[in-house]
Symmetry: C2
């Protein structure tokens, strides 16, 4: 017996964002039916004085999909100087009907694809359908996946604004290359869309219908007074206690959903708003899967602020790996 | 980037028992220096009505070896009827200097090789050097690995007795094939050794200098009154609460070591003797690594009963996988 292994190049050939979006939606829906299993996180910090650490996230999906497995994630910041990747992740997937391995895949690209899909699915479920302007806060690894997935679910988008408040030249470069990267990396021709680097963050926020945040920020970057009524936020960057990207005031009166509410309350964008009281647990809308299945209404008015807090679920890695392995 | 994968056939070509014994010894010694990291066990029972379950054992080895990783183990008893393996295990190993993957290997063969080495190392450290007769209690998957490893460390052994009290024909068949299997599977020519199925267990126990137990028994199979002075036991089968293979009375006055004392007290062969009081915690000799490094004396007299309680350490899988991947 041997096992199929897919590296990044093979994953790029095998995965398309539309299929990954369908897989991620299926996981969110499975979660509302109690079909997602999450096993305890294993976490370790190495004593190398460089902040190196690893975690193992494992779990499964019951029901028709019926798989289990894990992602081993290594973060070695010192690798940067050595010219090798500092984030290394590998996913193993098993068939839960018989325990046999389905395969092993490089986790970096899979994480990008499933996280991009998550942000876009939150927007599709909660943003105004006639949305025309998307703003990305953050122009790192994750941004391109978010843009590709959101343009897939919103073919009517006219403009994409890219903000990188800590590195303006990076935002410029990112915006300049966006259209060709979409074509080369995602086989998407979106030459009719305007891609623009943000110079005035307040103005860009006021213009955006959908804002996706993908920074590792630990203090709010987007202020409440900049936001226009009806804006949707997909908050992706906050996945650890103390992280926050948007003003807690934005949560006041907003319609808020999470991918996994227990986890979001602990480590998501909603952690601090709940602590400072700009929103209460009783005011939370629920989980995004409940909106997707029609169990709970998402947006309830045109002017409402909607927020999707995505902290990541191990099952998203597994379903995406499975899609690639079976492609 | 891609990852090296080794299935059973490749592992058989790459691993020899002598090298695995050296690797296992290195891990036991590293453990005494506090260089073995064990992360929390993840365990799950599937709701398939067949007793299917999985566990993830993870950890690492610090110091010169400097690796970390995990073994995903799936037990699916229902597979038997389908003609596919019911025990499926895969190991992933990473370099702890930079988090990069070293590779992925099939865990079944690795588990056999490292467990066989463990039993033999315990015997080498504690049994009388002039031992001539080895007895195996149990003639399943594990037995051949134990015999190959013990014959490697005791070239002077003259006789190997194989007992399978619940399936005598199995013991006969096993004994008949032993010599040719050693030659074919381990490239060991031991045609001078007598391999014999046990018909009278009491008599065989009385004849043995070294006894290795590899059954899933939940009640003692070997009685204290059968055992001759100076006998060594390597108890391998007991790795779960409630399991026991030898009479707790055998522990009375014996010199007892474990592979990982905390784990042995909980789930090893010593669990029940400690509970019924035939040995106390204060009377335990320590960990086998302490004998290997010379920190603690093993056997202190010719007539003493010695016992090595091996419950398994995740690091043994990692070192064995590493040896194969780098062969």
């Amino acid at each position: 017996m041997n096992v199929k292994v897919l590296g990044t190049e093979e994953l790029k050939e095998r995965l398309n964002i539309g299929e990954v979006i369908e897989g991620v939606k299926a996981v969110y829906e499975a979660k509302t039916k109690g079909e997602i299993i999450v096993w305890p996180l294993v976490y370790h910090e190495f004593e190398d004085g460089k902040g190196s650490n690893m975690d193992i996230r494992s779990g499964g999906i019951k029901g028709d999909i019926n798989i289990h497995g894990m992602k081993m994630f290594n973060e070695f910041p010192g690798n940067h100087e050595l010219g090798i990747p500092s984030h290394i992740a590998w996913i193993m997937v098993f068939d839960s009907t018989n325990g046999m391995p389905i395969g092993v895949v490089d986790g970096a690209y899979v994480t990008g694809m499933r996280t991009g899909s998550a942000g876009a699915i939150g927007a599709k479920a909660l943003a105004r359908p006639e949305s025309e302007t998307l703003m990305l806060l953050g122009a790192g690894q994750q941004a391109m996946f978010q843009i590709a997935a959101t343009l897939t679910l919103f073919p009517g988008l006219k403009k994409v604004l890219i903000a990188d408040p800590v590195n303006q030249p990076n935002a410029e470069r990112f915006a300049d290359n966006c259209c060709s990267r979409l074509y080369n990396e995602f086989k998407m021709d979106r030459s009719e869309v305007i891609f623009e680097a943000v110079t005035d963050l307040a103005q860009a926020v006021g213009e955006a219908d959908i804002i996706i945040t993908v920074t590792p920020s630990r203090s709010p970057v987007i202020k409440a007074e900049w936001v226009k009524p009806g804006t949707h936020f997909s908050c992706i960057g906050s996945d650890m206690e103390g992280k926050e990207e948007i003003d807690p005031e934005i949560f006041r009166g907003a319609r808020v959903f999470g991918d996994d509410l227990d986890q979001c309350k602990r480590v998501g964008e909603m952690e601090i708003p709940l602590k400072v009281g700009t929103i209460t647990e009783a005011e939370l809308g629920g989980e995004i899967g409940q909106v997707l299945t029609g169990e709970v209404q998402g947006r309830t008015s045109e002017d409402q602020i909607t927020i999707f807090d995505a902290t990541g679920i191990s099952a998203l890695d597994l379903i995406t790996a499975k899609i690639a392995l079976e492609a």
